[in-house]
Every structure is written in C-alpha cells, then in structure tokens.
C-alpha cells in the first residue's frame, strides 16, 4: 500500500490568497492512501524542501504530491528533493494550483478551492500508479563520421579532429573539395577559390585524427546516438592507394580520354585520372566504364561477336610501384561512431527542362558552373572565356537568374540564395578581363543579403552590367547570335537583346541519393529532399535524430561562409557530445508489452523517430519493440495501438485513466 504525502504550497499569497489552504489540507488528508498532508509557505525554498525531505523520512512516504506551481516550472526541483530523501525521483506528481488555478480563478475563492482539491485528488490518483523509473547510462564511441567532403564537411572534420576526437570523412567522389573546388573566384572578396580551399584539403589529408575515405558511400546506419554502426562501401578504384605514390605517369600516358566531370564536360580527362591537379588524395582511380582494358574484359565476358578491342594495360606496365590492381572489388567496412554529420551538399539544377532557353540546343547557352570552369585559370580553357560555337570572345553576355529557383512549375519553390551573387561576380570578372564586354542581367529580385553583398552588387552595376527586371521568355538564334527576349517589367515593354553568350544562373538542388541517406539516418527531409533541422532557428545543425547533425547546403541553399559556419557549428555539437563519459537517457519513454502485441506494426510506421523496431519471438510471432535510445516519449504509439500493448512510462494508460476516474470518485 502506497503511503502518499501531499505538500501544499502557499506560494506566499500567490496560491493562499485565492485558495483556502486549510480546507485543501484537510481534504487532501482524507484522500485514499494519503498518510500525510501539510502546507508550506514556499515548497521550493530550501527550508520548504527540507520540510518535505523530513516528512518523507518521518512518515515513511513512498510517493509524493507537490501541490504548487506548474510542473513545467519546478518538477525537476522537486524530483531532486524527493531523490535526496531516498525516493525514486519519478514517484512524484505535481498539482498545478498556481498557473491553472489561483492565478486564473482569483474571482471565485470557493470555486478555486474546490478545483484545487480536485487537482490534488487527480495527482494523488496518478501518483499511486507511478513506478520507479531509472535513467539509463549508455557508453559512447567518441568517434565521428562526416558524410561529404565539401567545404562544410572539411570544416566539420577539421574542427572535430582539432578537438581531439577521431573522425572518418567519407566522400563519394575520388577527391574531397566538393563544389567549391570547381569555382574560380568567390564573392564578394574575389578570393581565388582553390587558393583558400586546397590548404584545408591538405590539412584533412595530413591530420592524425582524420581518416579519409574517398570513392566511398554510406550504405546502412544502425544504432543510435553514441553507438551508431555504419556500413560504408569503399568502391573499387582498381588502384592500390597504399602502394600508389601519385607520381602521375599513369594518367599522363593513358590513351583513353573521357569528358571531365570536374570541368563540367568542357575538358577531357584520361580513364585513369585524378579529377584535378590539387585533388586529395592525389592518387588516381580507374574509370572502368571508359578504361580500354575493362572494355576488352566486358567484350569477352559478354561473348560479343567480332574481334575484341585490344587490351591496353599501359598504366599497369608503367606503374613503378605496381599499384594497379585489376582484382580490386567494392568493399564494405563496418565502423562504430558516436555521432554523424551529414554534409552532402548540393547539385546544380539541370536547366534543359527550360525548353524555351535552349540549353543543350544552342551551344552558347551555358550554366553558371560551366562559366566557372571556363573562367578558372586552371580550367580547360586556361581562363579564356570564349563562345563554344565559334571560339570567339563574346561581346554581349546575358545572364538569366532564378533558373530552377523560385519556380513552382519546375518544383523548386525556394530561392537558391547564391545565384544573384555569382552572376554579379561573373559580370565583374568578365568586364575586368575583357573591357569591351557588355553584360546584361535579367533578374526578378536581386537578393544580396550578407555582409558586403549589396556593395558587391553595386560594384557589378558600376562595372557596367545592366540589370533588367524580368524573366526571359525565349531565346532564338539569329545571324549566328542569340536574341534574348523578355519583358522589362519596369518599363512595361518587351526587350530583345542580341547576345553572343547566355549564362543560366542555375540554382541548387539536393544532391542525388539524399532521400535514401535521410531514411538510413532516420532524419526527416522535405519535399525538395533537403534535410530538416530539429528547429529552423534554435537548433539549426541538429536533427530530430539524436546524434545526427547537418551542415552545409544539404539543408538548403547556402553560400560558402554559411557552409563553413554550419560545419563548425555541427562540429561544436559533436565535441560537446563527446565531452561526456556516458549518455543518460530519459526513462519516460514508450514500451511494448510483447504478450499483448498483435503484430500489426502500425506503431513502427507512425513513430516520428523510427524508434520502434520489430522482433520475431521464439513462438514465431512478430512483435514491436521500442528502441529506448531513440524514443522521445510522445506517446503516439500508445494511441495508435489497439491492442493496448504500447504504453508510455510516466504517462501510462493506467495513470491517465486514474486521473479521469478520480474526478468522479
């Protein structure tokens, strides 16, 4: 039989001024299982808490009701109080006599007193059904996984590594560097992009705490915060990087050429290649789709007719250290991590869907990223911007913004944030390189919202770029030039601009495979397949999945400063997590009674935290089982479960029903 103590707080006159404390104490003393009822000027004061602790000992109380303010205010305070007296802290319930009673019913003392008594009765009925709960301590692996080797992931990996923790950085491509490596200059300072990026890439490669896995992808994620188990596929490179010295003879001598992905197809690379000279690691991979030896192997394997293409194997012959490994296969590594940072970045929007703009049809219509590669001194053209159609320098260049941004027709509702600025950058640089170039920019709004961005936009205008408000409705070819047609909405008239080159300011979209990765990580993503942060303002790098953080453009369009900042922020969160020796889990989570579970598994489908797994019992029944480390205690599963198998500790069906029933006792 429970021995319940009720402690009624005056809260000065806050409660006592409206509620007749004497009557409440008397009524509480007569409630079932209540062996002690007392009032107190301030329950939360140190003397008040001492009285509670003493009463627990003196009356051998097994449960406690504090009738005072809102539990949102002081539940934790009183949990500590009862714990200090040797009770399990969860054998406590609060009746909210202040916020929910005396403060809002000061116009009726009688009614307020009646309500106060009933609120206490509800709390008494509930606390009688409370159980001892114990937070669990879980050990954690102090090792972080960073997915994505762009600037954001690089920053996150370096910051964690510099905090003294081990990091594994996984990158899908053969090199880290991401999109930033492809850029020529960066706005608004016009720093050379690779000049500021490559030192960081080298730092990653050399850092003792960082393990770099390129040409690798995350396949499966199990576990929970502190104890993730992640399967990573190391794709076959056909080159043994342990032996390879990166001398470069192989890619120089390889006779097969393919369009360079890094150069947006504007230049060529060999079949065994590094994407660009400063690639990290500076060691090559073999592109088996284009490699002559692999073409030969496929020909033989598929038993095609005719003479097989010759086996080339030049790289193998020339390699001084015998690093070419034709037998290399995809490998799956399974590693343990305590935290994961997702920094998978973005992909440039594919503009061919805008048929009216003729991308892919008119060679002189290019994307912003292609312009970057053209402009780059280390790019395929050595920085010389020419018309793809005839190799001449353009005189009139027209830029179109919001391509794949702010366009519901294309399913991209959002602003890509960086386009206005990179267009301004192109206009400034073009004018600097080629003083007789005339740039025109068709825009809807110019969004220049960060430090020095507005000034940068002004600089573009001053350099001579003419801004025309409107969206281009069509581009046609005429006399070897392009005629760009759109409304100038500020004049209310159509304008046509004869141009030599048109640059489409393509927006950012989710990088391929984002949804699958999000599902594996149990992180939510939006309709645009962008990751959703735990709170857009207050928890911008956390996710609803504990221990999984997000950085960079995988959350939404971000520029370099923001990507770096979010990378550092996520790293700080990881470092804070790793500073703990154990993780403590909240015991007020859901549970499933396996005897009562009928196995419909609806709970596994609705759980917002994917915290419910299935388990096959020895009798062959498949039942639901709660992963307490993932459960956040919302109780949706309880209401979903017809079987009455799911329950929520601290808010059990029994406890809530007891509260309802007590009102009619």
């Amino acid at each position: 039989m429970a021995r319940i103590g009720v402690f009624i707080c005056h809260c000065g006159t806050n409660i006592a001024g409206t509620v007749d404390i004497g009557r409440v104490v008397e009524a509480a003393g007569q409630m079932p299982m209540v062996v002690h009822a007392a009032d107190n000027k301030y329950n939360c004061s140190e003397p008040g808490q001492a009285l509670i602790r003493d009463a627990i000992a003196e009356h051998r109380l097994s449960r406690v009701v504090i009738a005072a303010c809102s539990p949102r205010m002081h539940e934790n305070t009183f949990r500590k109080t009862v714990a200090a007296a040797g009770l399990n802290p969860y054998l406590l319930e609060m009746a909210n006599l202040r916020e929910h009673c005396s403060w809002v019913h000061s116009d009726g003392k009688e009614a307020a007193t009646t309500k106060a008594i009933e609120l206490i009765r509800m709390a008494v009925s509930k606390v009688a059904r409370h159980e001892k709960l114990f937070p669990k301590q879980v050990s954690l692996t102090k090792r972080a996984l960073v997915i994505g080797g762009g600037i954001s992931g690089i920053q996150a990996a370096l910051d964690i590594a510099n905090s003294g923790y081990k990091v594994v950085l996984v990158e899908r491509e053969p090199t880290i560097g991401g999109r930033m490596a492809q850029l020529d200059k960066t706005f608004p300072t016009l720093d050379c992009s690779s000049c500021i990026l490559t030192p960081k890439m080298v730092d990653v490669a050399q850092h003792a705490n960082i393990t770099l896995l390129t040409s690798a992808e995350v396949k499966e994620v199990k576990g929970f915060v502190g104890n993730f188990e992640v399967s990573i596929v190391q794709k076959a490179r056909k080159v043994d990087h342990a032996k390879c010295t990166g001398c470069g003879i192989c890619w120089q001598k390889c006779p097969e050429k393919a369009p360079s992905e890094f150069d947006m197809g504007l230049g060529k690379r060999s079949a065994i290649y590094i994407p660009f000279p400063q690639a990290v690691p500076p060691k090559p991979v073999i592109d088996t789709a284009n490699c002559r030896y692999h073409k030969h192997l496929r020909f033989v394997e598929e038993k095609r007719e005719g003479k097989p293409p010759p086996q080339c194997r030049v790289c193998e012959k020339l390699c001084p250290v015998g690093a070419i490994d034709w037998e290399q296969k995809d490998e799956v590594l399974t590693e343990k991590f305590g935290a994961i940072i997702v920094a998978t970045g973005y992909k440039a929007f594919e503009p061919a869907v805008y048929a009216e703009l003729g991308y892919g049809k008119h060679p002189d219509v290019i994307t912003g990223l292609e312009m970057e590669r053209m402009m780059s001194a280390s790019g395929p053209a050595g920085g010389d911007v020419t018309r793809p159609s005839n190799g001449e320098h353009p005189r009139d260049v027209v830029f179109l913004t919001c391509i794949g941004s702010r366009d519901e027709q294309r399913g991209r509702t959002y602003c890509s944030k960086v386009c206005c600025m990179y267009i301004a950058k192109h206009a400034i640089i073009l004018k600097e390189h080629y003083p007789d170039v005339q740039c025109y920019v068709f825009y809807m709004d110019v969004r220049a919202v960060s430090k020095d961005y507005e000034e940068f936009y002004k600089r573009a205008q001053e350099s001579g770029a003419i801004y025309i408000r409107g969206k281009v409705s069509g581009i046609r070819q005429e006399d070897g030039r392009l005629v760009v047609r759109g409304e100038d909405t500020l004049l209310g008239e159509m304008v046509e601009i004869p141009a030599d080159m048109v640059v489409l300011a393509v927006g950012m979209e989710h990088s391929p495979g984002s949804a699958e990765l999000a599902q594996a990580l149990k992180v939510s993503y939006d309709i645009n397949e962008l990751f959703i942060e735990a709170h857009p303002k207050l928890r911008p790098v956390e996710t609803m999945s504990d221990g999984v953080f997000v950085a960079g453009a995988c959350v939404g369009p971000r520029d370099i400063p923001e990507s770096v900042a979010s990378g550092s922020a996520a790293a700080a969160k990881v470092a804070a997590l790793f500073s703990q020796e154990f993780l403590t889990t909240d015991p007020m989570v859901a549970s499933v009674d396996q005897m009562k579970c009928g196995g419909c598994l609806l709970c596994t489908k609705v759980c917002p935290f994917k915290a419910i797994d299935t388990q096959v019992l020895r009798d062959g029944r498949t039942v639901a089982v709660v992963n307490e480390s993932l459960c956040k205690g919302c109780g949706l599963c309880v209401a979903t479960c017809r079987f009455g198998a799911a329950n929520l500790r601290g808010f059990t069906q029994q406890q809530l029903l007891a509260e309802v029933t007590s009102l009619w006792q």
Binding site: S70, R72, W103, E118, C634, V638, L648
Partner: protein, 143 residues
C-alpha cells in the same frame, strides 16, 4: 435550463504548447471559468480515444483536447495524427447522441494564454447552454 449548472470539463493538454499556454494564461492572470480539470500529456497524439469515451461515460459534460498548432508539434507530426483521430471521433460521438459541442479540439500555442482562456470560457458557456448530459444510469457509472 439549470442556471446553477456547473459543467465538468476534462482537458487533455499537450505539455509543450497547450499546457504551457494555460500556464501563460496564469502568468498573465487572465481569468476563465474554473470548470476545467487539466490532464497533462506529452503530445496530443498520446490521447487514446478510449480516455475520451471513458470520460464521457463517467459523466464529463465536455472534453477538451488541445495541442500545438499543425506544423508546430514538438515531436514534428504528432498533432497531424491526433487531428485525424479526433476528426473521426467527433462526428461519431455526435452520432451516438453526445451533442456537438461536448468534444472540442483546439490548437493553443505556448504564447496563446489569451486564446486558452477564451477557449475555456466559450466552451464552458456552450456547455452551460447545452445543459447537463442525460445521466447514465447510476449502476453503470462504476463497476
């Protein structure tokens, strides 16, 4: 209509928005009728319709379910599920003869103390004008 009739209301409030909104009404000293008895739950999605049906069986004159506004759920999506559940329960109870106006679902945020007070006031007034529920025969009330 009984002038002195004091309806009994069971209110299930989610901890993060509506319970906090009720706290807010208190902090701001916004008075409302004392007929409501609040049961705190972590999320409106935790509320099993059985609890509501049971409250009516026991003799509740009204049941209030309140949660975060759609899109604001602390657990991201719980209130979308509760909205569906109660959208269906509501006409069903009415069909069984429990008048419209005895079950109410409201979205009250942590800052909407005034709204909470308004909801309780108007709900109470509505229940007063509906009058007491026809009593379930006494022997049915409890085992």
């Amino acid at each position: 209509m009984a002038i002195d009739f004091e309806p009994r209301i069971v209110g299930f409030l989610c901890n993060w928005c509506s319970y906090a909104g009720a706290d807010m009404a208190g902090t701001a000293r916004i008075c409302y009728p004392s007929n409501i008895r609040v049961i705190r739950v972590p999320c409106s999605a935790r509320i099993d319709p059985l609890l509501v049906v049971k409250a009516f069986q026991l003799g509740a004159d009204g049941v209030l379910v309140a949660g975060c506004h759609p899109g604001d759920c602390h657990y991201t999506e719980g209130n979308y599920y509760s909205r569906r559940r109660f959208a269906l329960l509501y006409p069903f109870l009415e069909y069984l003869g429990i008048e419209k106006g005895r079950l109410r679902l409201e979205w009250v945020s942590a800052s909407e103390g005034r709204k909470f007070s308004h909801v309780v006031s108007s709900f109470t007034e509505g229940l007063v004008s509906l009058g007491p529920r026809e009593k379930v025969p006494a022997e049915g009330a409890l085992p």
